[in-house]
């Protein structure tokens, strides 16, 4: 039941290469529509690589497999990133990428459980994933299922009261099978997260809410691997949070240097340029 279906069979490709593949697919999807939350996808690609190719147990051809680790995308607008990871993981067929964001596609702009295999919940109304994660973690424990629940959330979601209700709840219920990943890209819709609600000292906040806290460079694969290992193997009846400091548009320097906004502007001719930049830097 706890077979690591992924790591054993798929890991002859490096995690850096997986992250690169995820980035490349996200850019290709962005090109299909001429827009998309590609800045977020490039920033979170390393986290998704480590999630899907190091930490999670799942069966690509059986997305509802009872023994799978549950990965919740609370941030529905990051769907473009998760679709890339799901394609890379073999859960979605690669050619479907061309349908991204088109009418009746299974890959809509905002992630929804009813549309996409491997998309556990309908996120997008931000601040809901962690609470659902609490319930799934309780449910798994009630079923004596040793799987983990991962909830990927954003720094913007730290503003929602529901996030902290869920955080208290998870600690109260001693959910050692719940791992929360916070993408701290210092960006929200209206501007920088650090200019909005003072989230710092963020690690201390989570710790004082009863969580085991790690804060890592979310674009450093070795650091992520270590953090995920600690989160999984830790003894102690606490939920675990990994705060990941990421850089939006990571891996495409000309976009990284651009004025970063929630919806990064990419000109029509820049998608190919972005792919060329990636292709020139393909890891083994």
């Amino acid at each position: 039941m706890t077979t690591q279906a992924t790591t054993a069979t798929l890991s002859n490709m490096s995690l850096a290469r997986r992250a690169w593949e995820i980035r490349r697919k996200a850019v290709r999807m962005g090109e299909v529509q001429g827009q998309g939350y590609v800045g977020q996808a490039l920033g979170i690609a390393d986290v998704l690589s480590v999630s899907y190719f190091h930490a999670l147990a799942y069966r690509p051809d059986e997305p509802e497999w009872e023994g799978r680790d549950r990965f919740l995308l609370s941030i529905g607008h990051y769907a473009i990133a998760l679709y890339s990871a799901l394609i890379e993981a073999g859960i979605l067929p690669e050619q479907e990428l061309e349908t991204y964001g088109t009418d009746d596609s299974r890959l809509p702009m905002s992630g929804m459980a009813a549309y996409t295999p491997g998309m556990e919940i309908t996120g997008g109304s931000l601040g809901q994933g962690l609470g659902i994660g609490v319930g799934m973690a309780l449910g798994l424990k009630a079923k004596k299922n040793p799987a983990f629940v991962y909830n990927l959330m954003s720094d913007g979601e730290l503003g929602e009261g529901s996030t902290w209700e869920a955080a208290m709840s998870a600690a109260h219920h001693k959910l050692d099978n719940l791992v929360c990943i916070v993408d701290f890209n210092d960006q929200q819709a209206d501007g920088k997260s650090t200019d909005m609600l003072c989230s710092e000292p963020l690690a201390d906040k989570w710790a004082s809410f009863g969580w085991h806290v790690q804060r890592v460079d979310g674009n450093d694969i070795a650091a992520l691997v270590a953090a995920f290992d600690v989160a999984r193997n830790l003894k102690g009846a606490k939920p675990r949070v990994i705060i990941c400091d990421t850089i939006m548009c990571k891996g495409v320097p000309f976009l990284e240097e651009r004025e970063i906004t929630h919806f990064v502007r990419v000109e029509a001719d820049e998608w190919q340029k972005a792919l060329a930049v990636l292709d020139a830097n393909r890891p083994e």
């Binding site: 061309e98 088109t102 009418d103 299974r106 459980a113 009813a114 549309y115 109304s125 009630a142 609600l197």
Partner: protein, 348 residues
């Protein structure tokens, strides 16, 4: 319970056919325009109107929950940075704080998307604002079906939610002029208001058809007379009704259009007078589920007053809607001009 105990999801993806390779890329779900062809547009009418109002009234302040740029409130924030409060993505405290500031004598305009005000912040609006009859003006972008992002962003039941709330005035403007004239009107109104907001480049529709039109809070206005059908509409469905009326006239059908931008309190006198005239088919048209919106409000007004014309409703179905391009979805769910014409012709 056993280890195989499993949530049995209602998973539509099993039934969804993946589009064939090469067939993708046709219609972008990003297309969020209303298909308002032939009209001039005004940029950010709400933001500019609020700046004008704030120059005259120093009680006016602005609040947002990480959506100033997407509700045109950034225009106000630039003009009056010291009167603008960025609350972060925290709709509930935004509403509570707006209530608190109103208690101290201010007139807060609080903005977010319609889904997040009506769903997440509802209890806070009900108790901190409506029950206390405080002058907070809740102004929300993406009302009804004005985004293709799917149910998380489609506020298809915001009017139904808010109509049940005592004390709350509800405004569903059609166009840029409506928005600009509604801002001073709702500021002057002493109680709480929920206003649906067309934002960005907003078409200027009504005066093109009806040059003397003026927005008046609480009043429905006959924009055009006609003898076969009376369409009672709000929001951008008034634009659809006007466009449909022009088209129907060419097809020999004479349609009247009654614009009803104040949903609550409803202008029952005008509605009863117009619906009682002649022997016209009466049709309501709203950018909202047919449950609990303008259509049912009009129906109950007519029935309880013994006015019983043939009556039909145009609006969204009682379901969570698809993601997709707005023009596709407006056609699919019957609120495009073409779909409106087809429905009206079918009923005559």
């Amino acid at each position: 319970m056993t280890a195989t105990h499993k949530y049995d999801p209602h998973r539509k993806w099993e039934a969804r056919m993946p589009p064939k390779p090469g067939e993708g890329g046709r219609t972008s779900a990003m297309i969020a325009s209303l298909a308002a062809e032939g009209y001039d547009t005004v940029s950010a009418p709400f933001g500019h109107a609020l700046v004008e109002e704030a120059k005259k009234n120093d009680r006016v302040v602005g609040f947002t929950a990480d959506l100033s740029k997407y509700t045109d409130l950034h225009i106000f924030a630039q003009a009056f940075p010291e009167r603008f409060y960025q609350m972060g993505m925290a709709e509930q405290v935004m509403i509570s704080a707006a209530a608190g500031m109103a208690r101290e004598g201010f007139i807060p305009f609080a903005t977010t998307y319609a889904v997040f005000a009506s769903r997440r912040a509802y209890d806070f609006i009900a108790m901190a604002i409506a029950e206390e009859y405080l002058p907070v003006k809740i102004v929300c972008a993406l009302p009804g079906l004005t985004t293709g992002y799917g149910p998380s962003h489609q506020a298809t039941e915001d009017l139904a939610i808010f109509r049940g709330l005592p004390n709350l005035t509800i405004v569903d403007p059609c166009d840029a002029i409506d928005v600009m004239e509604a801002v001073p009107a709702i500021t002057a109104h002493e109680g709480p208001v929920y206003m649906r907001l067309p934002r960005g480049k907003v078409p200027s529709v009504i005066r093109k058809h009806c040059p003397d039109y003026k927005f008046e809070l609480g009043k429905a206005k006959l924009l055009r007379d006609g003898k076969d059908v009376l369409v009672i509409a709000s929001g951008f469905m008034t634009m659809r009704a006007l466009d449909a009326a022009v088209e129907l006239e060419a097809q020999g059908i004479s349609a009247a259009v009654l614009h009803c931008p104040t949903i609550k309190p409803l202008d029952t006198a005008t509605i009863l007078a117009e619906a009682g005239k002649g022997n016209r088919l009466v049709v309501t048209a709203e950018n909202h589920t047919k449950v609990g919106g303008l259509g049912e409000a009009v129906a109950s007004t007519l029935l309880t007053n013994g006015v019983t014309p043939t009556f039909r409703m145009i609006g969204l179905p009682d379901q969570f809607l698809d993601a997709g391009a707005l023009p596709t979805l407006h056609d699919r769910y019957g609120i495009s001009t073409a779909a409106m014409i087809t429905q009206i012709r079918g009923w005559l």
